[in-house]
Amino acid sequence: MSSITALRRIVDTARNHRLSPFREGAFAQRIHHPRVATVIGRALAVCLVWCFLTGLYSHFQQDPASWMSFPTRPVWLYRVTQGSHVVSGMAAIPLVLAKLWTVYPRLFSWPIVRNPVHMIERGSIAVFVAATLLQLFMGFFNTIKWYVWPFSFRHTHYWMSWIIVGSLLIHIAVKLPLIHEHWRAARETEARTSGWSRRGFLATVSIATAAVVMTSAGQSFTPLGRVAVLAPRRPGVGPQGLPINRTAKAARIDPAAVSTDWRLEVDGPKPLRLSLSDLNAMPQTEVELPIACVEGWSQNARWGGVRIRTLLDRAGARRGDGARVTSLQRAGSYSESELPSEYAWDDDTLLALRLNGSVLHIDHGYPARIIAPGRPGVLQTKWVRGLEVRR
C-alpha cells in the first residue's frame, strides 16, 4: 500500500508543483493558442509539402524510373524547383521553431496518455517532430557540405521525407476539427493585457521567416545576391564568374588526360574519334542556360560548343536514342550520366567547349562538358571522355 501512496505523491507533485510544466496554467494561454498553431502550422505545411514535391522531382531527375520523361522547357525549371526547395526548407526553420514553441505545453498534457488511440497520436507526433527537425538540420548542413552524421545524406533525406509528409497528413487528420475552427481569426478582439499579443507574436514569426528567406535566397535568385549573408554560394564567385561544385582536384582529374591528345569517343553505329580542333571545326552553337545545383544555388551562363544531336547524328544514332556520358573523373559518384532522348536531341543541349566567351576552366570541365536545359548540375557531366548511343 505504501508504495502506491508514494507513487500517488510523486504523480501529485508532478501535476501540482509550482514549477512543474504539468501544472494547470503553467503556460500563458494566449500565444500557446490553437489559432496561433493553425496560422503557423499551415504556413509550415506549405513549406514541407513544397520541399517534398520539389525534392521528389530532383530525386527522379537523378534516379528516374524507366517510364519517366522530363520536360526540357522552361530551361530554368530545375533552377526554380531546387532553388525553392532549399529556400522553403530554410523558411521552415523559423516556422517549425515557432510552431513547436506554440504547442510546447501540449507536451505536458495530462493525463500523459488517455487511451491507445491517444498513444498512437502522440507517437505519430513524436515521429513527425523528430524527423522534421533532423531533416531541416541535415538539409541546411548539406548546403555547406558538412556531413556530421554517420549515414548517407541522400538516402536518409529522401526516405525521411516520405515519413515526414505521411505523419504530417496523419497530424492534419487528427487536428482537423481544431484547424477548421481556427482557420479564420475569431471575431472578438483580444483583451488588452501586458503580455505578448497574438498579432505581435505572428508578426515576429513572419519577420523572422522573411529575414531568413531574404538572406538565403540570393544564391539562386540573383537580385538578392548582395544580401545573401546566409547563403553558402554567391552569384559571380568562381572561375569565369560561376561557382563550381566539384573541383578538378576533388574529382582527381589527371592533367595529362586533358592535354592535347584528348579525344572524344562517340560510340554508336558509326563510331567517332574527335580531337578538340575537330570539335571546334564543327558547327558551333551558343546558348544561355543556368547551372543549377542540388544544393540550391544556381546561375545563368553563356555556353558555346557543339550540339549533342549533331554528334549523335554523325555517329549514326536515330532520333529517340539516348546517350550515356562518361567522364575522365575518377572520384565521386557522378563520373557517368545518362542523357535521355528528350535532352539528347534538344537544340540547347551542348557538348560545351566555352563558358562566357572563353575556353572552359578546368574546374568547369575542360576540355568539354555537358550542358542541358532544366537538369540538375550533378548530371551536367564535366571532363567528358565519351558518349555512348543507347537504344
Binding site: 513547436l100 517532430v129 558538412w146 516520405w162 482537423l176 538572406t215
Partner: protein, 143 residues
C-alpha cells in the same frame, strides 16, 4: 469531415510506410544511428532549446517591464531575431575555409553576421522608439 479524416490517415500511413519501407530495404549498418539522431534532435529541441527560450524570455520580460506592451514586444522580437540569425550563421562561420573549394562559403560570414545584427538592432531600436512615443502615457498597468 469524417471521410476527409479517414482519407488523410490512410494516405499518411501509406506515405510513411513508403519511407519506412525504403529505409529498411536500403538498410546500411550506419542507419542504426538514425534513431539515436532522431531522439537527439527531439531532446536538444524540447529539453534544451525551448526551456532556454522560456528562461531568457522570462528574464527579458522582467527587464523591459517599464515599457509599454507593444514596445516591449519589439525589444523581445529583436532579441529573438538576433538569436535566430546568429544560430543560422554559426555553421557557415565555422565551416568557412574548411571545404577545399573556393566557391563554397566565399564570403566572410562573421562580418556579414555583424552587419546583419547591426541592421536588426537599428530597426528594432527605431520600431521600439516609435511604439514608446505612440503608447498612451500610463504607468503601473504592467505585470
Amino acid at each position: 469531415m469524417r471521410w476527409l479524416r479517414v482519407v488523410l490517415v490512410l494516405g499518411g500511413v501509406g506515405l510513411a510506410a513508403v519511407g519506412v519501407g525504403g529505409l529498411l530495404t536500403h538498410w546500411t549498418a550506419s542507419l542504426w544511428f538514425l534513431p539515436l539522431w532522431l531522439a537527439g534532435a527531439v531532446f536538444l529541441h524540447d529539453g534544451v532549446l525551448v526551456p532556454m527560450t522560456f528562461g531568457v524570455g522570462g528574464a527579458l520580460w522582467r527587464v523591459t517591464s517599464g515599457l509599454a506592451p507593444s514596445a516591449r514586444q519589439c525589444v523581445v522580437a529583436g532579441v529573438w531575431l538576433t538569436a535566430l540569425m546568429t544560430v543560422l550563421a554559426i555553421p557557415l562561420i565555422l565551416r568557412r575555409g574548411v571545404v577545399a573549394n573556393a566557391t563554397v562559403l566565399p564570403s566572410n560570414y562573421l562580418i556579414d553576421l555583424l552587419w546583419t545584427l547591426g541592421v536588426i538592432a537599428v530597426v528594432t531600436a527605431i520600431a521600439t522608439l516609435v511604439r514608446i512615443r505612440r503608447a498612451p502615457r500610463k504607468r503601473g498597468t504592467d505585470s
